[in-house]
Symmetry: C2
Subunit: 256 residues, 2 copies
């Protein structure tokens, strides 16, 4: 099978964590945003807050806060004599998809124009961060900041990061039993891949172990599966803060 | 600003709702899936069920059920001596993003290779559909079918659909008051755009009004904002079924 420039763009993409200070031309930013809009959608349930003044992560000159947005839906439904009847959970789950498809198009469009980007996903999902962004950008009810994407010209050369083997990700017809062999192979691909790039050693990104458990890893063997395990094994045990901030934004998820 | 083939691919993309029966080569399907994997992620919290035998929507020869998948996370964390502590809501909200970024890369990769695609988003989000797919594909706990993407070579020529004006979608620093003028302009762009393509007339996709309210629209004036209003103004009032099926899949969203 022959490749093409779009496939090359997709395959070469990696998060950029160091930026040159120069501001991309406005035409470049607008072309990226327009390409974002052409992603498929349920109801265009997203909006974007663009900031070009301020300090953003990794020295990036541009920040895009991608929001789930049902505020505009409510406004135009009112013009048509309708009110939103659909429950918040469905609205949120479809809204996140609309916003995420658009966001990924932004990533691809930016890459094709020589810009790097990085999602700030995990931090955006905290109640504190949601409140901060909602206040800073005057977000009305039914607008939820989902994820921040920073953009700019890269000041580092990075290589694409490894991924699970396709055989561990795509299953034909039936989800298989994943035995030890498949599991260990997939873990080895990720861990040896990140180690070969000295990824955690360079970024000094080791996550501290809380409590009494001893940290037996050095940067010679600390890699992706251990790093990810420490996140999901230690962080954000209670959903209550997030449920509360979702309700504040207009998306209460309680049973009715 | 100069365009490029990737931007052209993004700008030309539209959902395909009529397919030729021929099966894409396996190399083509795998190239699309690999490009999907290179999307950014929090923790690769997705998997894909590929089906090439059966009848799929719009006569498409290939179906991809894109799942949020924390089952593999749980398996490899166990190998490392960890358990998932993070709450289900955070897991789900980040998992949906991982899955959606990947899914949008699939869409773009397919388009670049001459294939069409269509998300079956709204139907996938029903409790009935989730249960059906979970059973059919033997999905373990912590695997949630999020959205189905059908793929194949198009048997129709379609033009990209309209989108809201950029000025109604991207806001600098502050979310503005959206006055009547901006709102009416945005509605007119969408409605006149769909009418110019005879979109609803051709697809006979008018949504019936429930209850006593009279339907005063014909296919000469029934368009996007009315169509979307009838969905969100009539469907899925209660979140309870969806909350229940999420809990069945391992993602209970109750307060703790």
């Amino acid at each position: 099978m022959n490749g093409n420039p779009t496939l090359d763009t997709l395959m070469n993409r990696k998060s950029t964590r160091k930026y040159r200070p120069e501001m991309p031309e406005r035409g470049v930013i607008d072309a990226i945003l327009r390409a974002g809009q052409q992603a498929p959608f349920a109801s265009q349930l997203y909006s974007v807050i663009l900031s070009t003044k301020g300090k953003f992560a990794f020295g990036a000159p541009v920040s895009l806060v991608i929001c789930v947005d049902a505020h505009r839906l409510r406004l135009f439904m009112k013009k048509r004599g309708w009110e939103i009847v659909t429950n918040n959970l469905t609205l949120l789950l479809l809204g996140i998809q609309d916003a995420a498809y658009m966001a990924q198009n932004l990533v691809v469009a930016a890459e094709s124009l020589g810009l790097g980007s990085c999602f700030l996903g995990e931090s955006s999902m905290s109640a504190e961060r949601v409140r901060h962004l909602a206040k800073k950008h005057h977000l009305p009810e039914l607008v939820l900041p989902l994820v921040e994407l920073v953009l700019g010209y890269p000041a580092e050369e990075a290589t694409p990061r490894p991924r699970f083997p396709l055989s561990f990700t795509v299953f034909e017809n039936t989800y298989p039993e994943l035995g030890d062999e498949a599991l260990e192979e997939a873990m080895a691909v990720m861990d040896s891949g990140y180690l070969a790039q000295d990824y955690y050693k360079k970024s000094k990104a080791k996550i501290r172990i809380e409590g009494d458990r001893k940290d037996e890893f050095t940067f010679d063997d600390y890699s992706w599966t251990e790093h990810i395990s420490r996140k999901w094994g230690q962080w954000a045990a209670s959903p209550n803060d997030l449920l509360e901030v979702l309700a504040e934004r207009g998306f209460s998820l309680e049973k009715q």
